[in-house]
């Protein structure tokens, strides 16, 4: 809160107006109108739970790949990484590499097997051969926590963006806009379900990647299509040749270097455990299409991250770190400022509408995942013991959407001004600690038990959260959530790393193993056989729902 207020205060001090707020609003309004039309058209067949959560498994691999890219390339990727490169040089690029290589874990270990084993949620897979009740409750808990962290990051990004684009530097006005964005998101998900949400993701991914490509070519053209020339220009503006090598941000001490390794671990292992990414694999009819969608998304995401390298150094060269830091939204303003520098108000309007759309679409994807997890894993499977009344599951999901939407709006207003790339990295660390060990053990290890799953999920989740709470991210430094003034000693940051992954991920793997080998294995071996046969052959999960 304090941190946010300080930022908002700074924003108020910088009244320089960039672009044309009315033009920005018009372009954004156009995007909302078009996507809403698509969502309403797409949702006419939404009847069953399979329609609502998994879009009737009717999407092709290519479409789903676009949607995965849409889900994955959040505001943290576009605004966060561009800004990180513009300010910290090479160290920002390392985010891109981690986010991309992570997809190999998803492709090789998880995507197809998961597609073959589950129905709607991560809980379906984790509870397949273990005891339903406790495992589903644990899976839903970790899903809700991870989604909430991720939601906070997106909503916080929305707040910062608003101040820059609409010329709203007042905190109240920004809060109103966050509420409007949140309200729109609830509407999309309520009307469209997974099908509508997927179409929003597809449109948004096309706009985002297209927009980034145009800006990339533009920046390169200004430098005679000579990348080295662009790097030289960046060095010249920054006045520091170290921007081209790693270490500007993370190379200060042995501790920050270790922190960097921890971040690298969380990034590469987090993707395959993000519930909203996993859920996307259920929207395709077959494992082969799931494979195809990952391939599509890897190409799109990889291309996009190469663009961010050019955009980041472009912003460093053309705008300069000082001007970016002075702008409302700080690092997150680098991409919009670059757009304004290149194409004036019109390009700024388009790029900012794309950035808004990005936030809107990712929030919608997260919300439907969290809602599905609650209504499918908790309500239908635990409360109703697998026999929900007809239509009840979808109704509960819709109510959950509204509840989560309201929570996200409140959280977003509170988190307005926080660093979004960092919040997303925390969501990755929590996901990798709480979910990944259990996903991998239950797919590949016969001896895994319910006790192991619960120890790993709750242990990983709790360790990650507790370490974050005691880290410098939360307290003790000038840029913490609860800041301590420069040079003073304060706060409760007894854990020195800002990313907990290095400790919490191995610990969660250890706990899963320990919990399984201690005590008697009372699991049904037939279930393990069935899960393995299904996961590798796709038996019983290979045909689309026909309407």
């Amino acid at each position: 809160m304090l941190h946010g207020l300080i930022l908002a205060g700074e924003a108020a001090k910088a009244p320089e107006k960039i672009g044309d707020p009315i033009l920005n609003m018009t372009i954004f309004g156009l995007f909302v109108a078009v996507t809403m039309f698509v969502v309403i058209r797409a949702s006419r067949n939404n009847k069953s739970a399979a329609d609502y959560y998994a879009a009737g498994r009717s999407f092709t691999g290519g479409q789903n790949g676009m949607a995965i890219a849409g889900d994955y390339l959040s505001a943290a990727s576009f605004l966060g990484i561009t800004g990180a490169i513009a300010l910290s040089g090479y160290d920002g690029f390392l985010y891109s590499i981690g986010f991309l290589v992570a997809w190999l874990v998803a492709l090789l270990l998880v995507a197809e097997l998961l597609r073959n084993t589950g129905k709607f949620t991560m809980g379906d897979v984790l509870a397949f051969r273990l005891k339903q009740r406790p495992v589903r409750i644990a899976a839903a808990t970790t899903t809700l926590v991870v989604s909430f962290f991720y939601l906070l990051a997106q909503m916080a990004g929305a707040g910062g963006l608003v101040s820059l684009l609409l010329g709203l530097s007042e905190r109240t006005a920004q809060s109103v806009v966050i509420a409007i964005v949140g309200g729109l998101m609830i509407l999309y998900v309520l009307i469209g379900g997974m099908k509508g949400t997927t179409w929003v993701q597809i449109i948004k991914a096309g706009l985002l990647i297209g927009g980034a490509a145009v800006m990339t070519v533009w920046v390169l053209a200004l430098n005679g299509f000579n990348f080295s020339h662009l790097l030289d220009a960046a060095v010249q503006t920054a006045g520091n040749p170290a921007v081209l090598e790693p270490g500007l941000k993370y190379g200060k001490s042995d501790l920050t270097k270790l922190d960097f390794v921890s971040l690298g671990l969380a990034l590469v292992l987090g993707t395959a455990a993000l519930p909203h990414v996993l859920m996307r694999f259920y929207t395709v009819p077959t494992a082969k299409e799931a494979r195809k969608s990952v391939v599509w998304s890897i190409w799109l995401i990889g291309a996009f991250y190469v663009f961010t390298l050019v955009l980041g150094y472009g912003a460093m060269a053309l705008i300069g770190a000082d001007a970016i830091k002075a702008a409302p939204g700080k690092a997150n303003a680098a991409a919009p400022l670059l757009a304004y520098h290149l194409g004036g108000s019109v390009l700024l309007g388009i790029i900012s509408a794309v950035a808004f759309a990005t936030i809107l679409a990712v929030v919608a994807g997260l919300t439907i995942t969290a809602a599905a997890s609650f209504s499918h894993d908790i309500w239908a499977s635990v409360v109703r013991k697998g026999n929900p009344k007809p239509g009840e599951e979808v109704r509960v999901a819709r109510i959950t959407v509204v509840a989560i939407g309201v929570l996200a709006i409140l959280g977003g207003i509170y988190a307005n001004g926080q660093n979004i790339a960092f919040l997303v990295a925390l969501a990755f660390a929590v996901a990798a600690s709480a979910n990944l060990p259990t996903i991998i053990y239950s797919l590949f290890w016969k001896g895994f038990t319910t006790r192991g799953a619960l120890w790993s999920m709750y242990g990983g989740l709790a360790t990650a959260i507790v370490l974050i709470w005691f880290s410098p991210v939360v307290s003790g430094k000038p840029d913490s959530m609860f800041p301590t003034a420069e040079g003073e000693v304060g706060g409760w940051a007894v854990f020195p790393l800002s990313n907990p992954g290095l400790i919490s991920i191995p610990l969660a793997f250890l706990l899963g193993w320990l919990g399984s080998v201690i005590g008697k294995n009372t699991e049904d071996p037939k279930k393990q056989s069935e899960m393995e046969v299904r996961s590798l052959t796709g038996l019983g999960a290979e045909k689309a729902v026909n309407h």
């Binding site: 190999l104 509870a127 080295s228 020339h229 190379g251 037939k526 590798l536 052959t537 290979e542």
Partner: protein, 118 residues
């Protein structure tokens, strides 16, 4: 509830003897091929990725060595990570299409037809 996935098709396979299928030679071959590919390939990819992360953290000067103009070793290694990610993806897809899918389809068809998997 464990049989959730069954509800997506009309074929009832709940009576299949999954233990016997799991022990069958065809299934063991599928399992061996899948694991024989993904485990080693992923381990190599992770070693390459963490090697890169460790170089970035602890070998700053090496990463800053200029190659062509201002383009340096660090940027080259970063872009090579992108290239290897693309390459491994294409490699896996062609392997899975060629080696895994036919066996998986054979097993699936046998079970759905109520035949024994050999």
């Amino acid at each position: 509830m464990g049989n959730d996935a069954t509800s997506t098709t009309g074929v009832d396979v709940s009576n299949a003897d999954f233990g016997a299928i799991q022990e069958s030679g065809t299934f063991q071959e599928l399992r061996r091929k899948q694991r024989g590919f993904v485990f080693p390939v992923l381990i190599v990819c992770m070693v390459w990725y963490f090697g890169y992360v460790l170089l970035a953290a602890y070998a700053k000067d090496f990463m800053g060595t200029p190659l062509i103009g201002s383009f340096n070793v660090g940027l080259l290694l970063g872009l090579l990570q992108v290239v290897t990610t693309f390459a491994v993806t294409m490699w896996y897809v062609s392997f899975a299409n060629r080696e895994l899918d036919p066996i998986a389809a054979e097993i699936r068809d046998s079970i759905e037809a109520g035949k024994e998997v050999k």
